[in-house]
Each structure stands twice: as C-alpha cells, then as structure tokens.
C-alpha cells in the first residue's frame, strides 16, 4: 500500500508518503507568502482543523474512496475485514466495559491507519481539484511559470490559499460542508483560522 500511495495521492498531501517530508510544505507556504509579499499581492489563507479526525472516519466513505481510486474488490474486502474485526473496550471510572466493535473511526497506532486516513482526506483533495478544474476556486499563482496553488495537506492539517474574493470563500465553505457530510469528519469551527496578507 505504501508503494502505491504516492501515485494516488494528490501532490498537495505531504504526510506519510515516501519522498515527501514535513518540511517541504513548510518551505512551500513560506515561499508563497514571501512571494505574495514581494509582489505586493493579496491572498487569504484559511487553516482548517478536523475535530477528532481519526475517530470519526466514516467506513463506507473510506471504502468508497478506495473503490474510486481503483483498488480491486479483494483489497477492499480485506480492509473491511481489518476494520470490522477490531474490538474495543473502554475504561469507565477505572473498570473496563465489555468489548464491543466500533462502527466508525480508525485506530490510532495501527500501522495501517495513516494510509487509510490519507485515502479519506484524498477525497477533499479530489473535490478541490474538481472545483479548480471548473474554475470555481481560484488559487494563487506562483513564480514565473505561474503554478497555481490552492490547498496544502499534511494528514488532517489543511491549509487553503486563495485570492481574496467572496466567491472563493463561498466555494471553500461549500467544499468543506460537502466533505463534512460525506466523510463525517467534523470541521472544527473554533479552530478554523483565517489570515489576510496584504
């Protein structure tokens, strides 16, 4: 799975994938901001956090995403098996409850979980790509080659970069809303931040 991830995941994602590092995206954001400053442009940066990201993943959505990304049925069945076979028990006031099977969420610490999570958030990248393709979302264009950039992901840490137009904000809002409904990842409204650079 690790071997194919770098092919299916969008370039905007930089966590848990071979050959992409944490620092890459930091340098990237830094360069973008610097560029905007130097040409005295304008941009808005919106930082989004998901509430309890791992725990609230919708399984059906995950499996649907896997099918969309071209995993074969056998694989999907395996993953379903992995998800459903797990049982958990909760400590309540110091005493463990009876074991029960969860119906959503990924187990943190599971070696497979990061990759599954990447597949889930790839859904968001997919929507953004569509919006960009249809010309609804206008990113910032950087450098002489005018490479457009609108979103960066590091696992669940997502940043939107776009030019400050009301239309963009509306689009981002609806994208997040859709993604929220589909994947049950709740966008944390308190953690949502918003910057404006001159």
């Amino acid at each position: 799975m690790q071997k194919v991830l770098h092919k299916i995941n969008d370039q905007k994602q930089s966590a848990f994938i071979e050959g992409r590092g944490l620092l890459d995206s930091v340098v990237l954001v830094n360069e973008v901001i610097d560029e905007v400053r130097r040409i005295k442009g304008k941009c808005t940066i919106i930082k989004v956090d998901f509430e309890k990201a791992y725990d609230s993943v919708n399984w059906e959505f995950l499996l649907y995403m896997m099918a969309r990304l071209g995993f074969c049925d056998k694989w999907i069945k395996w993953i379903r098996g992995c998800l459903e076979s797990s049982t958990i028990s909760v400590l309540v006031n110091g005493s463990p409850t009876e074991q029960f099977s969860p119906t959503k969420g990924l187990r943190q610490g599971d070696p497979l979980a990061p990759f599954l999570f990447l597949i889930v958030v790839e859904g968001l990248a997919g929507v953004v790509r569509q919006a960009e393709y249809k010309g609804l979302l206008e990113g910032i264009k950087v450098g002489k080659k005018q490479i457009p950039i609108n979103m960066l992901q590091f696992a669940d840490d997502t940043i939107f970069v776009c030019s400050p137009k009301p239309q963009n904000i509306v689009v981002i809002k609806s994208i997040l809303r859709c993604f929220e409904i589909a994947s049950r990842l709740k966008v944390n409204f308190h953690k949502r931040k918003y910057w404006y650079a001159k």
Binding site: L22, E31, D34, E35
Partner: protein
Amino acid sequence: MQNRMIERFSIMLNCTTMNIPFLYLGIKVGANHRKKVFWNDMIINIRKRLSKWKGRHLSFAGRVMLIKSVISTIPLYYLSIFKMPVSVGKIIRKLQREFLWGWGHEGRKIAWVRWEHICRTKEDGGLGVKDLDKFNIALLGKWKWRLGKEEPGLWKDIVLSKYESWRKLDDKKVCSHDSWWWRDIRKICGGGCKENWFDKNIRWNRGIGNKINFWDDLWLGEIPLKDKYLRLYTNSILKKAKLGDAGYWNGENWVWNLQWRREWFEWEKDTVANLMREVEGTTLLRDREDERIWNDDETKVYTVNSAYKKLNKSNGTQQENLFELFWKMKALPSAQYFAWRVIINRVATYDNLQNRGVEVGSKVCVMCHCCDETVTHLFFSCRIAARLWKMCDSWLGLYSVHHNSVEIHFLQFKHLGLSKSCNIVWRCMWVATIWSIWNKRNNIIFRNVKVDVEEMFSLAQVKTWAWITNKYPRASFSYSDWCLCPTTCLNHCDSNHNI
C-alpha cells in the same frame, strides 16, 4: 475597506481572524527569521529545560550527555529550514556552556575547555557535541541537494518556478525577488559564500551531457577546468556550455569541439594541447543522463551527517589513534571524562588554576611536598604516583619504564604488543588510577586525610574490577581471583566467549 472585507469573510466562514506570522506544522510561517524575536520561543524552550534539571546534581559526563541528546536537538526542527542568526547561535552556545560547566546561582565558573574543542568528534579529541552553526549549514545544504535531484514534488515545482533552476543559487548577485530563505541558502552553499564547500564536494558522472557545465563543474580531474585553465576559459565563447554543447557525435564517436574567441598565440598552444589531451580520453554516454554524486565513499548521496563531518573536520589529526582507543574503553563515564580532561591537560591543578587567574596559596604538590603541582607531576612523576604505577605494573606482571607524557603513558602498552585482554585491563586500570589519585589529592586538601598508596591502589583495583565485570557481560570472576591474576581472569573469559 480591507478590514471590512476580512470581517465579512470571517463571518461567512464562522471563524476567527489572525495575522501573519502564524504557526503551521509547528513552525512560524511568514515571519522574518533574521530577526531575533523569531527565535525567542526556542530560546525560552531551552532555558526551561535547563532550569528544571539544575545541572549541579549531575556529573560532568551526565551533563555532556544531556547537552548532546536534548539541548542540541531542540532547535533542530527550526534549523533544518532557517539559518540561525549569529546572535542567536551565540545565545544558545552560551546556554550550553553555562550548563556544561555548572554555572548556577554562584556565578561564573571556569570553562576549562574551549567550546570549539568540545565540538570536535570524539576521535578527534573532543566530546562530539554538535556545533549548531555548522550543523545548521549542513541541514540547509540538503535543500540545495534536493533541488538538484530528480524527484517530483510540489514544493520543488513552486520553488523552481520562482527561481528557475538550482544553479541560480550559484549566482553572485541577489535578486530583489528572492525570499529570505533562498538568500540564506545562497549565502551558505551557493554563490554567496566565499569558499563553496558544497560544490567542492560534488562530483559528476558523465552521461549524455545535458547537465554538466563544461567549465564550472567537477567532472574530470580534481579541480574544475575553469580553475585549471583559467586563461583558456576567458577565451572561450560559451562559458556556460554544457558538455553536450562542447562537441558533437561523429557516428559512434564523440568529438570535442571547443570554440574560442580568437586564434591562439604561439606560447598558448601548449596549454590548449594539454587541455585537449586531458579531455580527449573521455567520451559521453548516450544511454543515460548526467548524474550528480556527493563526495562520500559510502553513500554517494548527500546526508546531513556526512556534510557535517566535512564541515567539522579539524586539521590536527596526530592524536586520532589515542582517542579512538580511549573512547572504546568501557569505564565509568565520569571517571572516563575526567581522564579525558587529564589527557588534554584541563584539570584544576594548582598551576592550571593559577594560569586562569585563581589565587592559590602554595603551589606545592600535596602528595610529596617537594615539587610544584602540574598534571604531569601529580599523576605521573610524583613520588607517590610513580609508586602507584609500579604497583600496577607488578600486579599485571609487566616491567617497564613509565613515560612522563600523558599520551604516551596511556598508549605505551599498545606498542609493547600485549594481548588484547591485557590491554583492556591496562586501559581501565589507567583511568581508575588517575581517578583515585585525583580523589586522594582532593581528600588531602579538603578533608586532611593522609597519603596511603596501598589504599589508593586497592581502590583502583576494585573500580576496575567493577567496571569490567559490569560492562563486559561475559566477564565473571571473583574479586579475589582478579586481585591475584587479572590477565588470566580475562584470558579465561576471552577463550571461552570472546568478549
């Protein structure tokens, strides 16, 4: 107007507004890292760590360990992106130094060893503490390496879209569009630094000749052709020519064809012939691309570690062997670190104290009361010390004349060609003896005890026994056996288990 727009947006998204700089993945983004304010958080972080431990409860060895594993590593995350300003580097170094030498509420203490010396590798006589400035440079060099590497990545697309090619780093001039980050990397390993250590360690493998610069890059011989044939270089038309531009394919053969601005004078023709002769032996390869190689025998790829080693190399290397042996030994760390200070003559003996401006009453050695106390005297040539070393000799079954120089004294048995086990015993015993002499000396001064050679010797014996049985898992023998015949003890284990 703008503020109202921001307000409207934030209401639309139901979120809070903030200003640049902000924290992204744990790093402040959008701030100017050349300002000291940028680094304040990190310095506070380090301070917090230090005050919690209160270095005084730890031995010297323990403090070195802490500095190496904790204090030097806190800043690394920031340092792998940003160049640390000199002033910040100074502050951090000061914190580390104060911690190492135990400066606390009582004020300054003597820093016995220069910080640069401590930062050398262990084999080189230092303690292997990271020199953060140099490590910073090595970390940033990685970006230049990665920019020139063939691998996809969004960050690289963006950066290259801004600056075209990683070769632009070698430009002499700064462009006003360059970001601070880019300028710093340029300064560290590009056209901005005087002695370009990065390019010096780059080699090229010939391929189809699409990337290598004929004059600038190191693809033939030991120095770039530009430096070797400066006169010819000034006369060439295409100064930035790639290898592929400097010739043509004639069927299956590659023919070099350099173009010059003018005809050669008679006296220059020899040099031209030399160059052509040198170049003619080589050919391009059609089936692969040019390849960049890092000048490191093992990896061939840039690693921060190998770069740091290259940056941190000192010129004095004659003692290498000594320290290699010294740190291989397994003794009690605090004793071993003390012995290290003895070897480099950085111990608080009377003469050393006086040299550093401390008032000492008498300078006479407290053991023999006849000579001035110096390191060589106290540990080796003093009457008491000499007797102690004699006892060691007879215990180990050796007969030798002891040298007064510290290094040779430590190494002398290596030259005698003794067995491995005997060497192990000797080295541990050496450290233990030094340690017990020093303890005795301090006890005499501060607690008024009497000199007792027998006691010192047996103390060293016990210490060595404890170290060896502890650190070498297969060495198990009783203390009485050990006192009777140490080498047989070790030889016995040696033949059985191969320690």
